[in-house]
């Protein structure tokens, strides 16, 4: 399978961060100023300990009672400092949110575009929803981190640094003591965090199971009703819900442990500071105010420790998310647009040539061997063959949804991989069997093929396809909403819309891949006939499982086991023994009663 780039999944966190930051310049805009503001704002956290120390040492520790004027000045200065640092914090927060959200929005859009640029094979090789997560959940995870954990991380680091510096100013011995108490805790918490993180990973996995089970009970509702499988499905849901709850509880137990541990360490540090401080003070190496200030400073170590596991978890998730998004961007589209350097095809009927083309799906056996064929401009060609004979692969190569493993595909003599996508997609349009519709009106869906088409154009196009009657039967005509994935329409109706959508695009080469398989025969024949009329002058290639299409075509190309085994008009092929005659016999047998 062609999958998303896996090389980046093992890269280090720092390298991910560097590449991620480099990718969106918004992240780095004004970063030095933001960091300076951050440092200034964390300085606010030590204002109170300083005030306490000053008050006790200079204000109270005086023979004739408190020195009130000094205390008043000190308190006032400190209050100004608190307000200033709060202002810095506000400015930093806003700058940080703006730059990070700006960067993330552009990352999101970049990744989104890149997913569409990836080849069909790469896209379909990914699990359903995985690509969506790359531009939603993964980016949201980084955003979450930036908004809470990341901010906390910056503030915590600043707080620890500023507190440590002040401690060293007051007493290096006590500072050392506090460090000795907290440094091992940091290591313990780091270990803890790994355990907690593993526990959360299990919670997320079980959440996936849970969502899958709930989703089955909603999406599969008709089958569950029809087969009375309610109880069985219910039990499955119960199981996944309970497993998820058990995992949550287990993770919670781990997290609940980190809090008392840091409380106890903080208490030990405080007790040690009191004991050692008094001993130092008795020796004249420390003032009472400094000792009390230390008690306040110790509390500054507690909150970073208590939030450390959470912040590290968030950081880990954010980095992992970022890595996955970068993984998408690192994946080079294997079917790439030649872009400006490519060639542009003039409008007009298209000639197609396959030049000894071979193809195999990644890791699979070859499905096309040495296909050599020229399809003349203006011809209407039917491709027939059994399931798995290579018909659809042929169509995908022809429309450059995939590139051949060997050989070349040429349109109007130009190799397909030299043609600009903008030109190619305008001139060559394929209608797949399962035509996806968007959750919008019928008109919007058809207009998807040609954005500037008016409602009149759309109605006219439907009429040209012989679908005016059908349109009339719809309650709101062109304004009829088609529902999610077009599910308000029947399978056959969805195919009609997909066909109309391709038709209004006005391509010079129309490729139909069993595009009317769910439509009733009368409508199919009507469409077929209408198409014959409207595609006259263009090239049309239909992959057909109903051979009526083949009978009407100028030429039939018969595939068998990845090779073209017969080609020619229906009348000729049916007369000679071979694959086509067999297919035709079983087709007519089916039609007989």
């Amino acid at each position: 399978m062609t999958t998303l780039s896996g090389t980046s999944t093992t890269e280090g966190a720092l390298s991910t961060l560097r590449r991620g930051l480099a990718l969106s310049p918004e992240f780095r805009a004004g970063l030095p100023v933001t960091l300076a503001l951050a440092l200034a704002s964390t300085a606010g956290r030590v204002v109170v300990p300083i005030a306490v120390q000053q008050t006790i040492d200079k204000g109270l520790d005086r023979a004739g009672g408190p020195d009130l004027p000094f205390i008043r000045t000190a308190v006032l200065l400190c209050a100004v400092a608190v307000l200033l640092t709060a202002l810095c914090a506000y400015a930093m927060n806003v700058r940080l949110y703006k730059s990070s959200e700006g960067g993330l929005a552009s990352l999101r859009v970049k990744a989104f575009r890149h997913v569409h640029d990836l080849s069909m094979l790469t896209q379909s090789g990914e699990r359903r929803g995985a690509l969506v997560s790359r531009v939603t959940g993964d980016v949201d995870q980084i955003s979450n981190f930036m908004q809470s954990g990341g901010l906390m991380f910056i503030v915590s680091i600043g707080q620890l640094v500023v507190a440590s510096v002040l401690m060293l100013v007051y007493s290096w011995q006590l500072a050392l003591l506090v460090w000795v108490a907290f440094v091992p805790l940091a290591f313990v918490l780091r270990r803890f965090q790994r355990i907690v993180s593993a526990a959360y990973t299990r919670v997320r996995e079980r959440m996936g199971d849970l969502l899958a089970a709930v989703s089955e009970s909603v999406v599969g509702a008709p089958v569950i009703r029809a087969y009375a499988a309610e109880e069985r499905t219910g039990r499955r849901v119960d199981e996944t819900v309970d497993t998820h709850r058990r995992m949550q509880t287990r993770a919670q137990a781990m997290v609940a442990l980190t809090f008392p541990v840091s409380e106890l360490v903080a208490a030990l540090a405080t007790a040690a500071v009191v004991v050692a401080g008094v001993l130092l003070g008795v020796g004249g190496h420390l003032t009472a105010g400094e000792l009390v200030a230390f008690l306040f400073l110790v509390t500054l170590f507690v909150s970073p420790m208590q939030t450390a596991t959470e912040v590290l978890n968030e950081a880990q998730n954010a980095i992992a998310g970022w890595r996955r998004v970068l993984g998408v961007l690192d994946t080079v589209p294997d079917v790439a647009d030649p872009g400006e350097g490519g060639e542009s095809l003039p409008r007009g009927p298209i000639e197609v040539r396959f030049d000894s083309v071979g193809f195999a799906y990644p890791g699979g056996p070859p499905v096309l061997h040495d296909v050599d064929v020229t399809i003349a401009p203006r011809s209407r060609v039917a491709i027939v063959g059994q399931t798995g004979s290579g018909k659809t692969t042929f169509a995908k190569l022809l429309t450059r949804l995939m590139d051949p493993a060997s050989g070349r595909v040429l349109v109007d003599g130009v190799p397909l991989d030299r043609v600009r996508f903008s030109s190619l997609r305008e001139r060559v349009v394929m209608v797949p069997q399962d035509g996806f519709l968007f959750d919008a009106s019928l008109a919007d869906n058809i207009r998807y093929g040609r954005p500037d088409a008016s409602d009149g154009d759309l109605a006219a196009a439907l009429a040209e396809l012989g679908l005016a009657d059908w349109l009339e039967g719809l309650p709101d005509g062109l304004a009829t909403p088609v529902g999610q994935r077009g599910e308000s329409l029947s399978a056959g109706e969805r195919q009609l819309v997909a066909l109309a959508r391709a038709y209004v695009a006005g391509p010079d080469l129309l490729v139909l891949d069993e595009a009317t398989s769910a439509v009733d025969p009368a409508t199919e024949v009507r469409i077929q006939r209408a198409l014959d009329g409207v595609t006259r002058g263009r090239t049309a290639i239909s992959i057909a499982h109903r051979l009526s299409t083949a009978e009407a075509a100028d030429e039939v190309i018969v595939f068998d086991a990845g090779r073209i085994v017969q080609r020619g008009p229906h009348a000729e092929l049916v007369a000679e023994p071979g694959v086509y005659a067999d297919l035709y016999a079983s087709w007519t047998a089916q039609r007989g009663i």
Binding site: G44, V48, A51, V52, I56, I71, V75, Y90, M92, Y97, F112, D117, V132, V135, T136, Q147, L211, V218, P222, A226, Y227, A228, T233, R245, Q248, A256, L257, E263, L264, A266, A267, V275, V278, L279, A288, L295, F296, T387, T399, E426, M430, P432, G435, F436, D439, Y448, P451, W470, G473, Q484, S490, R501, A518, V519, P521, A522, V525, S586, Q590, I593
Partner: protein
């Protein structure tokens, strides 16, 4: 949810408390333990400050003044500090663990209840609600409902903490207490203002996240269409618009947080400074000691953080109330499919009768106006062991009719009878035991092949193989790496369309239904394989053991229609013709056009080719008339 106005607040809060009370009643023991633990934590937090104040006054300052201390005094201070912390640690661990327990238990039990309700509610109800909404009811809404449970015990503890802190400060000194009574209500008020400003903006950001995800989902799911029509850039612009809206909403959230967080942090600091100033003056007059000063200042520092827990609960309450309303909406949904107590026969083919059935899809929840009437006055019957083909143009109501036959939905008027019993009178499970539908769109569970065929039915593997054989699926299943035990993956992702259809057919056949309803169930199967399936069915149907099956089949292919004893021809939801195939060919023009479409096309083709050649020889541009 209107933006929180001052008038809307009390009801929301009251409603929120009512929701939380539901949880308290459901989990009284765990909740009580968490609140007690929280109270312990609260009491010990206040005590910590007292202990430090006491240590300052009795141990630190005397030692500094006198220049000596005793080991006993130091040991006492250390023991008191660590002892209080140990109790506090116990409290915090207990609170967090049990608060989580309550929350997770409530989430789990409501997730189960909501999903069970989905399984209970009739399909008609499902039709009215978009899939995405139902998934978020069971997940995000349940989560939001019980989100305040995590900080709730903490908040209760904080109230308690504030009470003892107030008592402790009043006992210390009234002037300093005045500062506390100014600062703490201020923190609480700012907090409330904060959450009130934040919650509508945060809700908006949350909604935009969902929208961004919807656009991405749809765009990627329709990736092939985007590619084949070259609309990548337009899709990117559509996505960019949403992503930038989300960015602006997130920045708006950030602005509010960025403003309130520093204010909330500055307030207790300013309080401590005020305490220092006022305390020093009181010290001067001898009303306070230096130890009291340390005690109160330290208390302010300790309280600054927990007091925010009140805000966290308040922040979650509006979302919780909205979530609860949605969850209740599902749990209180009525219109469950009522069942009777009639039993159906067991082992012979069923007699089916459809009498004057009318059906309209009810309008979807949002907009769309009235429903589209799909079936009008449809009547036909099938005698036991007979096969009826339902034929009609695209969109004529065939699939809807099949879902009525196995009672996935009830008709608006008229009735469907099996062995003369109205399906509405059959007891629960009775219809499923007798009738099996193979729908047009196959749904497979993320389970093994065996699990997908049996769906929990207790049958030996031989019967599973027999059903697979009849569905022409035994060959490929035997070739799968794990045989019957092979996992088919999410929605059967590892299988081809034709293989999935055959498994779905086997799922119906293994039940040996008395009525088998096939809704274009072999459209992705090769014609040759389909022919073999139909032959097999025909043989099974006429099996001499009397255990025949009545078949209703939606089909276009003549070979399939050929198996039918009778054809029901539908056009725009009405039966316009009924009878044997040959008869209908005579009497119904629409039917004739439909089933003979290929032959007619072929005939015209030949005629057209000749005419076309003539015209080409003549004048140019007449091609369209030639084929028309």
């Amino acid at each position: 949810m209107p933006p929180a106005s001052s008038r809307a607040r009390p009801p929301v809060l009251r409603e929120g408390m009512r929701v939380l009370w539901v949880a308290v009643r459901a989990e009284p023991r765990a909740f009580t333990v968490s609140v007690l633990a929280s109270a312990l934590y609260a009491a010990m937090t206040v005590t910590t400050a007292q202990v430090l104040g006491w240590a300052t006054e009795e141990v630190v300052l005397p030692a500094f003044r006198s220049g000596h201390t005793t080991a006993g005094a130091l040991a006492g201070a250390a023991t008191a500090i660590v002892g209080v912390a140990a109790l506090k640690a116990l409290g915090v661990a207990g609170r967090r663990f049990y608060a989580g327990l309550v929350q997770y238990r409530m989430q789990a039990s409501y997730r189960r209840a909501v999903t069970r309700q989905y399984l209970r509610l009739p399909l008609a109800w499902h039709h009215r609600h978009p899939t995405g909404q139902l998934l978020s009811n069971a997940n995000a809404d349940v989560e939001a409902t019980w989100a305040p449970l995590a900080p709730l015990p903490m908040a209760v503890g904080v109230v308690f903490m504030l009470l003892i802190a107030a008592a402790s400060i009043i006992a210390t000194d009234l002037a300093v207490a005045a500062v506390a009574f100014l600062i703490f209500p201020a923190i609480a008020l700012v907090n409330v203002a904060y959450q009130r400003r934040l919650s509508p903006v945060a809700t908006r950001a949350q909604r935009l996240r969902a929208e961004v995800s919807e656009v991405a989902h749809e765009s990627f799911e329709g990736g092939l269409v985007v590619k084949t029509l070259g609309r990548e850039q337009d899709e990117t612009e559509r996505f960019r618009a949403r992503a930038e809206e989300l960015r602006d909403a997130n920045v708006a959230v950030g602005r509010i947080r960025g403003m309130f967080d520093p204010v909330l942090e500055a307030l207790p600091n300013l309080g401590v400074l005020a305490v220092l100033l006022i305390g020093s003056m009181r010290l001067d007059s001898g009303a306070m000691t230096a130890g009291d000063l340390v005690h109160v200042s330290y208390l302010f520092t300790l309280l600054a953080w927990p007091i925010r827990a009140l805000g966290w609960v308040l922040a979650e309450v509006p979302r919780s109330v909205v979530g609860w309303e949605r969850v209740r909406g599902v749990l209180d949904a009525s219109g469950s499919l009522p069942f009777g107590d009639a039993a159906l026969g067991e082992d012979k083919a069923a007699a089916l009768e459809v009498r004057g059935v009318r059906f309209a899809f009810e309008g979807a929840a949002e907009g769309g106006g009235g429903g589209r009437e799909v079936l009008h006055d449809v009547s036909f019957s099938a005698a036991p062991g007979r096969t009826v083909a339902v034929v009609g143009p695209t969109g004529s109501g065939k699939s809807t009719l099949t879902s009525l036959l196995v009672r996935l939905v009830d008709p608006a008027d008229g009735s469907v009878l099996l062995d003369g019993v109205d399906l509405r009178d059959v007891r629960r499970g009775g219809v499923a035991a007798s009738a099996a539908l193979v729908p047009q769109q196959t749904f497979l569970f993320d389970d093994t092949v065996r699990g997908n065929v049996t769906l929990g039915l207790d049958v030996p593997d031989e019967r599973v193989w027999e059903a697979l054989r009849l569905a022409q699926a035994d060959g490929f299943v035997a070739g799968l790496p794990g045989g019957l035990d092979t996992q088919v993956g999410e929605r059967g992702a590892t299988l081809s369309g034709g293989q999935r259809q055959r498994l779905a057919l086997a799922r119906a056949l293994v039940r040996r239904p008395r009525l088998l309803v096939l809704d274009d169930a072999t459209s992705s199967v090769d014609p040759q394989v389909e022919a073999r399936i139909l032959r097999g069915l025909r043989e099974a149907q006429s099996a001499g053991d009397g255990s025949g099956v009545t078949v209703v089949v939606v089909a276009y292919r003549k070979a399939t229609i050929g198996l039918a004893d009778e054809v029901v021809y539908l056009e725009r939801g009405r039966v316009t013709a009924r009878g044997a195939h040959a008869e209908l060919l005579e009497t119904s023009e629409g039917y004739r056009d439909l089933v003979n479409a290929y032959e007619r096309a072929e005939a015209e083709q030949e005629a057209g080719q000749e005419a076309g050649q003539e015209i080409e020889r003549g004048a140019a541009g007449g091609g369209e008339e030639a084929v028309a």
